[in-house]
């Protein structure tokens, strides 16, 4: 195994890489051992690349008969201790939600890459549309929280995939990477760090010393503090006697119905309690900003340019970028927008899913202006126009 593991890391240096490939390489660097998927435009290059690369590291890339089989294979692999992922687009994600909900219940770590395309239904398959933002948040029946990342460059697709795998190990909830048809096919230079540096960043799947310890997240009766144990591995000593997707206690034993509320609290609060650690954001020229752009993914890059152009005209505007879209950092946003004249939310969808979240936070005291775009990127001028309109 040791010789094949050598190929897990690319030679350190700079590579001209397609977005979908950068993400696949990020997964391999994280120690990916299993990929189960069904090819779908615009995510196909992920499975194509991993079909070649995974056997080189002693892993397995399995093209299944459909999306249902794919996600179930991913869960199976993760249950037995392999870092696992799938990649698909919106129509595939809708098919997979049943298993995602089950995985959330039994806290199986996995990473889900959604290369979004224009919907609803089949839609336009080769163009970008951030229309799965809501679907990822509520991907499946039942109450549970998810974590979703929105990268905006090939380098970030590589880096954030490593973070995504770490979060999967730590928080044991569904983790999404929200790419899109455009980002997935951009070519950019990706800087691959040396193996030692990557290894320092990666959280491995290992069996804890205390194999008798809890297998599922639990609440301390006295302090009400939640503890998320390391993921269990079926077939080892560190495995619950029973894995059932019903409300269960820390050993996997069925909870009485009247305790269901406590179980829901665990499912939700294990993420909400850690929101400050989970939530990654970035600020750009916010110090004196009167107008604030809140955005995620590719529209942020057009926003950078729009802000620079607006600043030249003397308009005080800045950007608050959500790197993790879910959980939505309500408190952080509240602080950032306090006293702002207006908020502009450029999103690659018509509804403005995140704009609606922002509206909830601001209580409608500050105008929230949506800048929708579908099937193509925002031109910097689209955002500049919105800024100038507000600044009038």
């Amino acid at each position: 195994m040791s010789n094949v593991n050598g190929k897990r890391f690319l030679k350190p240096g700079k590579y001209l890489m397609m977005g979908n490939v950068a993400m696949a390489e990020g997964a391999l660097s994280s120690g990916l051992k299993f990929f189960g998927g069904y090819p779908i435009t615009p995510s196909t290059e992920v499975i194509e690349h991993l079909a070649k690369r995974l056997p080189e590291v002693g892993g397995c890339c399995m093209q299944m008969e459909d999306e249902l089989a794919s996600i179930n294979a991913v869960m199976g692999a993760s249950l037995v201790g392999a870092k696992a992922m799938t990649a698909t687009s919106g129509p595939g994600l809708s098919l997979m939600t049943e298993t995602i909900s089950m995985a959330a219940n039994i806290e199986i770590p996995f990473v889900f890459c959604d290369v979004q395309r224009c919907g609803p239904g089949t839609g336009f398959v080769t163009v970008p549309h951030h229309n799965d933002i809501g679907l990822t948040r509520f991907a499946g029946n039942g109450e549970f929280e998810v974590i979703a990342f929105a990268p905006m460059s090939c380098q970030e697709l590589f880096d954030l995939t490593i973070t995504a795998f770490n979060y999967a190990e730590t928080y044991r909830c569904p983790i999404f990477i929200l790419s899109d048809a455009y980002l997935g096919h951009i070519h950019e230079v990706v800087n691959i760090p040396p193996k030692e540096e990557i290894l320092k960043r990666v959280i491995d799947r290992t069996i804890p010393k205390d194999t008798k310890g809890a297998k599922f997240t639990y609440e301390d009766i006295k302090t009400h503090k939640l503890t998320i144990p390391k993921p269990y591995i079926v077939g080892t000593e560190f495995c619950p006697p029973l894995i059932i997707h019903l409300p269960h206690n820390q050993d996997g034993i069925l909870m009485p119905e009247e305790n269901s509320l406590r179980f829901m609290k665990i499912m939700i609060d294990k993420i909400r309690d850690n929101i400050d650690k989970i939530s990654l954001t970035e600020e750009y020229k916010l110090d004196d900003a009167e107008i604030i752009i809140i955005s995620y993914g590719l529209p942020v890059r057009a926003s950078y340019r729009a802000v620079d152009l607006a600043r030249k005209k003397g308009i005080k505007v800045g950007i608050f970028r959500l790197i993790t879209v879910w959980p939505f950092p309500k408190e952080k946003v509240k602080q950032v927008v306090a006293g702002a004249k207006a908020i502009i939310v450029p999103e690659m969808n018509y509804t403005g899913v995140i704009a609606e979240q922002v509206e909830r936070v601001t209580d409608l005291n500050i105008p929230v202006i949506k800048v929708p775009k579908v099937a193509t990127l925002h031109h910097p001028d689209d955002i500049l126009k919105a800024i100038e309109e507000v600044a009038k």
């Binding site: 615009p42 951009i186 230079v189 990127l377 910097p380």
Partner: protein, 199 residues
């Protein structure tokens, strides 16, 4: 940030996407500049109208290219098909003395290309020359890469040759380097003419 905007338009199969990746590789990997390449995706890349864009940041201090697509007016516009000529208007190309150039293929653009005469432009029968001199139209790509190397001066000849080695099958390397040199020579002739025209 000092963006250099490139757009290449033609039809699927001409090698537009490969050419754009070669430009991105030479600038991004060999010269270590920031670069973003985007391309037509879907059925159009396999026939029909196809395009690719490269944005190069000439400012070495920059951390990231903001907007990933090429912004008008372009520094360099390459037009390789009749249908693509519709895109060419005076305002889409930069007018500065040191940049702003239209390169077009006079063997694939058969009709009158009036818009070209209104700007700094280099029209050459690229595909025809490739076929006659090197036996296959695919060498047109390397000829263009040679022209690009000379007119933009973004990357060195060594970087360009290193890039060609990365992108072409080794059995055709020699011929590709010849095609590259041929393109370079054509571009040098063009630059001399341009200089004489100005003086």
């Amino acid at each position: 940030m000092n963006r250099y905007e490139i757009r290449i338009v033609g039809y699927g199969g001409q090698g537009i996407i490969t050419l754009s990746k070669m430009i991105a590789y030479a600038s991004g990997i060999c010269e270590e500049l920031l670069v973003t390449q985007t391309e037509a995706y879907g059925a159009q890349a396999r026939g029909g109208r196809s395009w690719a864009e490269v944005v190069i940041d000439l400012d070495r201090e920059s951390k990231q290219i903001d907007y990933p697509k090429a912004l008008k007016p372009y520094d360099l516009l390459v037009i390789l098909s009749d249908a693509a000529t519709k895109e060419v208007k005076k305002e889409v190309i930069k007018k500065e003395e040191n940049t702003g150039l239209l390169i077009w293929d006079s063997s694939t653009i058969l009709g009158k290309f009036r818009a070209a005469s209104k700007m700094k432009n280099l029209g050459l029968p690229i595909q025809k020359m490739a076929l006659e001199k090197f036996g296959d139209t695919v060498y047109g790509n390397t000829i263009l890469f040679g022209i690009f190397t000379v007119v933009t001066k973004i990357f060195s000849e060594e970087s360009a040759i290193e890039t060609i080695k990365q992108f072409v099958p080794s059995s055709t390397l020699e011929k590709n380097i010849e095609a590259f040199k041929f393109g370079k020579q054509k571009a040098e002739e063009f630059l001399t003419q341009l200089k004489e025209g100005m003086s």
